[in-house]
Symmetry: C2
Subunit: 311 residues, 2 copies
């Protein structure tokens, strides 16, 4: 049995690369800048060669390489529309990488990869049915059923960020829709909600003096009891809780794991989301467990590696 796997988490700015053993221990990592298109694949291949040489490991002892991609991936190989890396649009990633490397290749969406990582060695250990949500510049999610990722017929499984919660929303989401979860529960949406609330009242708030508001400012102020910040967090949680309750009406997971930058607000944030979820959850699904992600920025590396391990 081969002893190692490689995970590559491709982002708009950089590729995070990891060599892991089959128990989920990271042996070595690397990070390379994203320069676009084929250049990325060639750079990743060189970095993989370097890591293996550096660790004295032969490629024949590596089961394969898994990729996490910031866009939909169909059938484990075809990338769909990839907003952050336009050169990847509608392109057969596994075929192209196989021209450079003898390693077996498989790919999935980055949120899916993170979900798999969290189930393997993170916040979802011990569970086989999970919704993992990553809360950052968007609201991404990965759905795991019986221990396996659901990719979807169009690579769009787990797009809970684009459930239409409020069709009357005047602003348009990045996807072209209106009232998506992401418009209220991702970073920009949270800041927008705070600004809306401040525009509608004269209540004093520490958020008023901050021109470069971030979700962190808002969650910190909410922890300190700032009324506007608390109201903003309520909106964030209400929308996310409703989307998660809808998700549970579809796949009814054992556990919901929250990750991504916004999850750094920890138990404080989680308590708001759990309360909102219970408000909207259907019957027994109100018993679904909740946990915070544990792997931070490395979730994608772990999950991409697990994907290769399960190939």
């Amino acid at each position: 049995m081969k002893k190692y796997v490689i995970g590559a988490d491709i982002g708009g700015q950089s590729v995070k690369l990891g060599l892991l053993d089959t128990s989920g221990n990271i042996i070595q990592t690397d990070s390379i800048k994203t320069i676009g298109g084929m250049g990325i694949l060639s750079d990743i291949n060189s970095a993989v060669d370097f890591i293996l040489k550096d660790c004295g490991i032969d490629a024949s002892d590596v089961k394969g390489i898994g990729f996490g991609i910031p866009g939909p991936v169909i059938g484990g190989q075809n990338v769909g529309v990839c907003v952050n890396i336009p050169d990847f649009d509608n392109f057969n990633l596994t075929e192209e990488f196989s021209k450079l490397s003898p390693l077996p290749v498989i790919a999935t969406n980055d949120a899916n990869a993170a979900a798999l990582g969290e189930m393997w060695v993170g916040g979802g250990v011990g569970y086989k049915n999970m919704i993992f949500v990553t809360l950052g510049t968007g609201v991404g999610a990965g759905i795991i059923i019986d221990g396996r990722l659901i990719n979807g017929a169009h690579g769009c499984a787990g797009e809970l960020g684009h459930i239409k919660l409020n069709p009357d929303e005047p602003e348009v989401c990045g996807c072209g829709g209106r009232g998506c979860t992401e418009q209220y529960s991702a970073a920009n949406g949270i800041v927008r909600t705070a600004r809306r609330i401040m525009a509608q009242s004269d209540a004093p708030s520490v958020l008023r003096i901050n021109e470069n508001l971030t979700p962190k400012h808002i969650f910190d102020a909410a922890k300190d009891g700032d009324g506007t910040a608390l109201e903003t967090v309520e909106v964030f949680a209400d929308c996310l809780g409703r989307a998660l309750a809808a998700g549970a009406c579809v796949c009814d997971p054992e556990i919901i794991v929250l990750g991504g930058g916004i999850s750094k607000s920890g138990e404080f944030m989680l308590d708001f989301v759990k309360k909102a979820y219970k408000k909207y959850a259907y019957l027994e699904t109100c018993k679904t467990e909740f946990a915070l992600a544990k792997l931070g920025n490395d979730a994608g590396i772990y999950g991409a590696a697990k994907l290769a391990l399960d190939m």
Copy 2:
């Protein structure tokens, strides 16, 4: 290899029973009245014995019996809260039936069973990833991923009828929530919408003279161009389309199959739902195919039998 399977579709009023061959052909059916609790199981067991004798088939040639239950079923055997058959509440159906019969037993929710039946020999033939929706007194659904039913950690997978579309809804759903899909897209909800629209305007409508309105009256009137009926159908389809688009954001199926009594309005109804779905669908999921169910009231028998076949 065993040549036969039995499917039992348990409803609040009757149990529909079928003996099928492993290719999905019905050999013989029976229907028995539901008298509640253990009585049902003993009646089913007698009816199975009778069918087998009548067909000259030995029980040793039957792979097993599958049950479709009007309530959540956990792990293929434990029934949860069963509103229509209170004696089934929180009860281990497979264990109890095994006391009466040597046949291997497995159970699932009735909408799940119908989904499996439609995939096997009905509107979803040729697909492995499907949302099946049954539109009747409720909005039930079954989710199939890679050819297998998703039951959910609490037996609640596929409860698209209880996605909360409108938390501001003044009336309460049977589940205790507000603004569930079912409140707009199931039989009572459709009639209620028509009455709301009529109460809010003086527009003439053939529906006004009908004291015992049913969805069939409303769909028939809509086909004839009645304005109130058309507006009612728009609300039905808008809500169902939005719930299905949310479902596609979770599991991204290849096809959505619509069944149940309301689906008898056929292509006319389907066109409204497809249009609403596309309005709310996320990116590539707008390409999801749609079909009408083909098995009518027998879908549950077929699906329960398929469940036993896949045991």
